[in-house]
């Protein structure tokens, strides 16, 4: 993937990927005003604008990924201040990859959003929707690119506040979106405040906010013997872990997720399911490995995380089997899939962290595509209960084929991306000699087979309630992004060289501090 941009732009790529959606989002409000003067075309104008902005962001992030792979990590000092004083944006093999994933999903979900938003959100709010939408993408990319811990908190709140708003916009269709959004807001804010407390303890200990500098200070203190039984260090780690687990919806702290994903507008479900929790997992990587790596003995904590993840895989899959709402099935399945990522890095070996990073990418493709397919059904049929899906395979074959291929990815059928993730995960568990963990991973696949098959059976083999009702195939603006994601999940399931190499480079960086 080679994108050639002028040198003057390439030097500023790390900050451009954040600034483009930030200012794009603000300007989108004025476009809405312009549109209302031109009598009610504000929504279309804002959509075109958002496609342009997210498209440019995608080009920038692709170029950034290429630059980092070719030329090694980049540091961008905002305002040319040294990193100890100002804010530094650090881009390395890990976050260049995650930024690319977020930007790609952001662009495709924006293209997808047009018809879905037009049918689900009242007309006078479309330009506001796209403004908040772009800000959410800005926050998600910002968390990933920044190398400053307090900046992480601020951008985390930008992305969270906008996502709460986006979820609440589902209230036009179903009032339960409002209560789901408020629950998400309260639990999310508690999580963010815990993260803020954790950062505070770290600041107390090291006197700096920059991640690399923090790590250097901690290493120095450890060598001077100041970290023996240091309770400040322990408490900061505990606060950060609880806060991050809330944000990424790790099993016992996942209660906000199913309702928020279910009642959000379809386009929002697709964007958030594919990116928000992944960015949470990325933050956990950064804290556990980049800051505490080699300083704090986290063996016991990782053991605890692995335990939560194993419980999450089994119990959330069991919940998914019992749901009568297709979006809720996918939401519970997301809780299980996040547990796979956590399980991977809590094994803390090469194959485990590689599995984790690779699953961030693969699951974003699969779940993004599947939520898009459900959104198309919501558009054409008007509901997302299981009954609405009866025999829909014959009416919307292309959409439902995408859904089915995505479902195979969730199970981990060979030749799909999900298989690659599980392969690495089982390998990591074997290397550690944790047979129990390998068993849980395979059991999770089996349970996924049950909840996916239940849907597939209804979609393709059940008789529709009204066989003669005309239901059209989804529009092209929905089908194309959906099939790009699902198609990519098959391509990277057959030939995983590129993803495996990127993920392996990231794992090397996290575990050993360099390639």
């Amino acid at each position: 993937m080679h994108v050639e941009l002028p040198e003057a732009i390439r030097a500023h790529l790390p900050v451009l990927v954040v600034i483009l959606p930030l200012f794009g989002g603000l300007l989108s409000l004025f476009l809405g005003l312009l549109g209302s003067i031109m009598r009610g075309s504000g929504g279309l104008l804002a959509w075109l604008w958002s496609c342009l902005i997210t498209g440019l962001t995608l080009i920038c992030s692709a170029s950034l990924l290429f630059d980092v792979h070719a030329g090694g990590p980049e540091v961008y000092r905002i305002g040319s201040w040294p990193e100890e004083y100002g804010i530094g944006y650090n881009v390395d093999a890990l976050n260049a990859f995650v930024i690319f994933v977020v930007a790609m999903i952001g662009f495709l979900a924006t293209v997808y959003a047009k018809d879905s938003v037009a049918s689900e959100i009242s007309k006078d709010r479309h330009h506001l929707f796209y403004a908040v939408w772009l800000l959410a993408i800005c926050g998600l990319i910002g968390i990933t690119v920044t190398g400053d811990t307090f900046n992480i908190y601020v951008l985390l709140e930008i992305s969270s506040l906008t996502v709460y708003t986006l979820v609440a916009l589902g209230g036009d269709r179903d009032r339960r979106a409002l209560t789901a959004s408020l629950k998400y807001l309260i639990l999310g804010s508690i999580g963010a405040t815990f993260i803020l407390l954790g950062i505070g303890y770290l600041l107390m200990l090291t006197g700096t906010l920059n991640m690399a500098d923090m790590h250097a200070q901690l290493v120095r203190m450890r060598e001077a013997g100041e970290l023996e039984n240091n309770r400040t260090l322990f408490v900061s780690f505990a606060f950060l872990m609880v806060g991050l687990s809330l944000k990424m919806a790790l099993f016992p702290l996942h209660l906000w997720l199913p309702r928020a994903y279910t009642y959000a507008p379809s386009a929002v479900s697709a964007l958030v399911a594919a990116t928000a929790t992944k960015v949470g997992v990325y933050m956990t990587f950064r804290f556990v490995f980049t800051i505490y790596g080699g300083v704090y003995d986290s063996t016991l904590d990782l053991y605890l995380l692995a335990l939560c993840a194993c419980a999450g895989i089994v119990l959330s899959s069991l919940s998914a089997i019992r749901q009568t709402n297709v979006k809720k099935v996918l939401a519970y399945s997301s809780v299980g899939q996040i547990a796979y990522m956590v399980l991977g890095f809590s094994l803390a070996n090469d194959a485990g962290v590689t599995a984790s990073v690779i699953h961030i990418f693969n699951h974003a493709l699969i779940k993004g595509g599947m939520f898009m397919a459900v959104g198309a059904v919501v558009l054409r049929v008007g509901g997302n209960r299981i009954e609405d899906f009866k025999g829909i395979g014959r009416k919307m074959p292309l959409t439902m084929a995408a859904f089915t291929v995505g479902g195979c990815g969730l199970i981990g059928v060979p030749m799909t991306a999900g298989f690659i993730s599980k392969w690495y995960l089982v390998e990591a568990a074997m290397q550690r000699g944790y047979w129990f963990v390998a068993f849980i991973v395979l059991l999770g696949g089996l349970l996924a087979l049950i909840y996916v098959w239940r849907l597939i059976e209804i979609i393709w083999f059940a008789q529709p309630d009204e066989p003669n009702k005309q239901i059209a195939e989804a529009p092209l603006t929905m089908l194309i992004p959906m099939w790009i994601l699902i198609g990519a999940s098959v391509v990277f399931g057959v030939d995983a060289t590129w993803t495996a190499e990127s993920a392996h480079a990231a794992a090397q960086l996290l575990l050993h501090g360099g390639p």
């Binding site: 609440a168 009032r175 309260i186 405040t193 505070g200 209960r385």
Partner: protein, 126 residues
């Protein structure tokens, strides 16, 4: 005057009161208020962290203006500045929360969590 760890204890007490309120109250607006209190406790924690005293209680001196008689005691301004940002975040969170609660009141006619759950149960899980 040396107050020891008093401020830290106070911060923890405020945080815990707020946290308890978020969990225990069934009125959505009260939950939002408790959430604000919870975050305020963290502000106090950060601001206290910035106070600089040498081990025998002598206040710090500004690194540039070293004439302590003219400048007065010096504290680390960084945590204070961070809290300006965090206060803005907290206010925005509260604003979004209240906006959602207003909409809940419009659609459900109540902001009591129990009554909302009851209303959802009656309308059936669609």
């Amino acid at each position: 005057m040396d107050i020891g760890l008093f401020n830290y204890w106070l911060a923890i007490v405020i945080i815990m009161i707020g946290f308890y309120g978020v969990i225990a109250r069934r009125n959505l607006l009260k939950q939002a208020i408790a959430l604000g209190l919870f975050q305020t406790g963290v502000f106090l924690f950060y601001v206290t962290m910035g106070v600089y005293r040498s081990p025998d209680g002598v206040p710090g001196i500004a690194p540039v203006w070293t004439d302590a008689a003219k400048t007065g005691p010096f504290d680390n301004p960084l945590p204070h500045v961070l809290m300006l940002t965090a206060i803005v975040v907290s206010v925005s969170t509260l604003a979004v929360a209240v906006a959602i609660i207003v909409n809940i009141q419009r659609k459900y006619g109540t902001i009591e969590e129990d009554e909302i759950l009851e209303a959802d149960r009656l309308s059936g899980d669609r």
